[in-house]
């Protein structure tokens, strides 16, 4: 765990307590079974809004707390542990896009509402099944935006979109000229297709801002993945201590001990890489892009390993819908794919380092 200040420690402890008491994995299961269009429990999101989490990266002058990305990451990690579905990561990334953008009217109009948890905002970047910000056809002319965005997280419920066009980032309110088509996916969260057909758009910044905002969203997602990996590992470790075969606890078998030791080692490296990226963002470091690609590549590989092993080491019970292992496996693959998988980020890291 990174060294936290008093505010961050309080925030993390509060988030952990809330997630464990109010949003255990059972709450996610209930939501999955109820299958609301928005892909999260609205009452739980409302509580998060009241706790001020949506305003963690919003500047104080617009009603936020400006606690920064390490703080946001601490909260998302706790939510990730219990697979708590919420539009927090998307809303925070969109808020950052607005806060960093050039439009003062957009800041005054939207940031206070976001900080108060009154609306869901999201990023709409990719136009295909694989993250590729270099391939964008969406364009703006005469102040209106036209294009189709695929697999937009929280696309079903967002009232506000931060949209990537050929010449940079734009802000689009989710009413006139916006059509959503739900995509039912394995993780039971919202990943809608969103069509913009001549929607009013306000410019936030050029392609550089686009890259920066994607990095923020990627680091936030990596924090959620850290929580998932942590809990998937802990659940598996607990299971090995209770399951008896050949008259022994599974946890006494050296072959399994070494697999767990290896996974735990990878988990430690993952935590360092993820916290390192969040700290780089907060410090405004010039190599933040590298730190983010490092975090997402390692987070993807490690969560992949641990979520696979979670199913394997639980044996048959891990294959059943009744057990939680499948939830971690499904959400893990979605998180790996979002904002670029490990291969994408290794390639990017190579380019940034001049290999």
């Amino acid at each position: 765990m990174a060294v936290l200040n008093e505010e961050q420690t309080m925030l993390r402890d509060m988030a952990r307590e809330w997630a464990d008491n109010e949003a255990p994995v059972g709450a996610f299961r209930k939501m999955r079974n109820a299958a609301p269009a928005e892909g999260y429990d609205a009452a739980a999101w409302s509580e998060m809004g009241q706790m001020g989490w949506a305003g963690i990266v919003v500047p104080e002058e617009y009603g936020g707390s400006a606690f920064g990305y390490l703080s946001l990451g601490m909260v998302l990690e706790q939510l990730g542990r219990n697979l708590t579905a919420s539009p927090l990561a998307s809303t925070a990334a969109a808020a950052a896009g607005i806060a960093l953008g050039s439009s003062d009217t957009a800041k005054s109009a939207w940031l206070p509402k976001i900080a108060a948890g009154e609306l869901v905002a999201t990023l709409a970047i990719d136009e295909g099944p694989v993250h590729d910000p270099a391939r964008i056809a969406t364009s703006v002319s005469d102040g209106v935006l036209t294009g189709t965005k695929e697999f937009v997280a929280e696309g079903d419920s967002a009232a506000l979109f931060v949209v990537a066009a050929t010449d940079g980032l734009y802000l689009v309110a989710g009413d006139a000229g916006v059509t959503r088509s739900t995509r039912k996916m394995a993780d039971a969260r919202s990943h809608a297709q969103v069509r913009f057909d001549g929607a009013d758009a306000e410019k936030l910044g050029g392609p550089e801002l686009n890259t920066k905002v994607i990095d923020l969203a990627t680091a936030a997602l990596a924090a959620e993945m850290l929580g998932m990996a942590e809990q998937a590992f802990a659940t598996t470790n607990d299971y090995l201590k209770t399951r008896v075969q050949f008259g022994q606890q599974l946890s006494t078998f050296q072959a399994l001990q070494h697999r767990m030791a290896r996974m735990f080692t990878e988990l430690e490296l993952m935590r360092s890489a993820v916290e390192g990226a969040l700290e780089a963002i907060d410090a405004g470091r010039s190599d933040t892009d590298q730190a983010v690609s490092l975090a997402k590549a390692i987070a993807s590989d490690t969560l992949h390993l641990i979520s696979r092993e979670m199913v394997q080491l639980h044996g048959g019970i891990g294959m059943t819908d009744e057990h939680d292992a499948g939830f971690y496996l499904k959400r893990a693959r979605v998180c790996e794919t979002m904002w670029g998988n490990a291969a994408y980020h290794r390639e990017r890291f190579a380019r940034l380092n001049g290999y």
Partner: protein, 404 residues
């Protein structure tokens, strides 16, 4: 408050920092700036230049080679914050620590915890001044990873022990003055029959034979003990308590093997990507041409950075002076993996030039790379193999139990 008082309040270490700067300016010979430490205790006999000698003496007298050790035994008596300032100021002027070796890394911390007052007074100041070299008598031909099955026997002869047996992998044994050894004092018990004994390497009956390794070097020895008389005063702790003390020492060892020093060496030298372009050229987009190699280099670089971040995180998180923990096993394993991956990648990049053994046609760097690769195979074996570290992680961190 006056502004000077405010400044002092803002940085309580300012006075100490000034003291360090002044002392370094007066004592660190400018000619040694940034030079590597020529005084490592394991690598071989050393002939020190007058400047090296002067620097070692100055640091030894100041106690700053072992800055956190107690003053009454010749240490620096500094707290953690002061040690950090000392290291920062040394780095600033390119100064390095001339005091080192197994006495500093392993034996000293252990004796400070477990030794008698007389033993501390006898041994610690000599280590702090870099005067005495210690070697480790742990492994035996039949007791490597299963260390507790060691057989070297110390028979109680009243005022002394009579020691017979063999140790192996004695790092730097041929140059050491003294040996801290695990010996069996009771053949009827396994762990409880082991004691921690200090043996003079020049005592009658001690014989040292260097072992030639696959890399061609001989940093380790076989050490034979035949009717060696060891005074009873040289027993550390109580008889039969050696396993507990010995394990504690291993934690110090792992901590030093995985710590900042080795990490600094690991990241020294040319970046892998630059090395690859030097030997393999570039494709039309300025990339390493072999895509498979290029991605493996990236994986290695990412691993290295994540490890560096983890070392930094561990250092920042260590709030108390409780010494090394089971988490050092994680660092040891990752450090070993990265060291070996780096060497393997390097020789692959260099092709046949990375496999030279001696003579013409190879640069010194290339020949060195061959040796580094081969020597590096030891890092996942010594100090407790990767498999042993995984056992430690599983049992002590994850709470998994032994098979019954």
């Amino acid at each position: 408050m006056a502004s000077a008082e405010l400044d002092a309040a803002a940085d309580p270490l300012a006075t100490f920092r000034d003291e360090v700067r002044t002392w370094l300016a007066e004592n660190f010979p400018a000619s040694l700036r940034g030079k590597d430490n020529a005084m490592s205790a394991v690598d071989g006999p050393t002939e020190l230049s007058p400047e090296d000698e002067a620097w070692k003496t100055a640091m030894g007298e100041k106690g700053w080679g072992v800055p956190a050790w107690p003053r009454q035994y010749g240490g620096g008596g500094l707290d953690r914050a002061q040690v950090r300032v000392l290291h920062e100021e040394m780095a600033r002027v390119g100064a390095w620590n001339p005091i080192g070796g197994m006495g500093v890394m392993m034996f000293g911390p252990t004796l400070l915890e477990s030794g008698s007052e007389a033993q501390k007074q006898e041994h610690i100041p000599a280590i702090a001044r870099g005067e005495v070299r210690w070697c480790q008598g742990y492994s035996e031909p039949g007791a490597g990873s299963d260390l507790a099955s060691l057989q070297m026997f110390a028979e109680d002869r009243g005022d002394h022990y009579l020691v017979n047996g063999q140790k192996t992998w004695t790092s730097g044994g041929q140059w050491a003055d003294k040996c801290f050894a695990l010996v069996r004092t009771d053949k009827t018990k396994k762990h409880e029959g082991i004691s921690f004994l200090l043996i003079d390497m020049d005592a009658e009956g001690v014989e040292v034979k260097p072992i030639r390794l696959i890399s061609g070097s001989s940093p380790f020895c076989e050490t034979f003990f035949t009717n060696v008389r060891v005074p009873k005063d040289n027993l550390v702790g109580r008889e039969g308590e050696g396993w507990t003390i010995g394990k504690r020492l291993l934690q110090h060892e792992r901590s030093s093997l995985s710590g900042g020093g080795s990490a600094a060496r690991m990241f020294a030298g040319k970046p892998m990507g630059a090395l690859a372009k030097e030997y393999r050229g570039e494709d039309d987009q300025g990339r390493v041409p072999d895509q498979d190699l290029r991605m493996r280099i990236v994986r290695h670089e990412m691993d290295s950075r994540a490890f560096a971040l983890t070392l930094r995180r561990a250092a920042l998180e260590a709030k108390s002076n409780q010494g090394p923990s089971a988490a050092t096993s994680i660092m040891k394993n990752v450090g070993a993996r990265i060291t070996q991956d780096r060497a393997e990648l390097s020789i692959e990049i260099m092709g046949m030039n990375g496999l030279g053994w001696e003579g013409e046609g190879f640069s010194a760097d290339e020949l060195n790379q061959t040796r580094t690769w081969l020597w590096g195979k030891a890092v996942s074996i010594y100090g407790g193999s990767t498999e042993i570290q995984n056992n430690v992680i599983a049992k002590r961190i994850l709470g998994m139990l032994d098979h019954q």
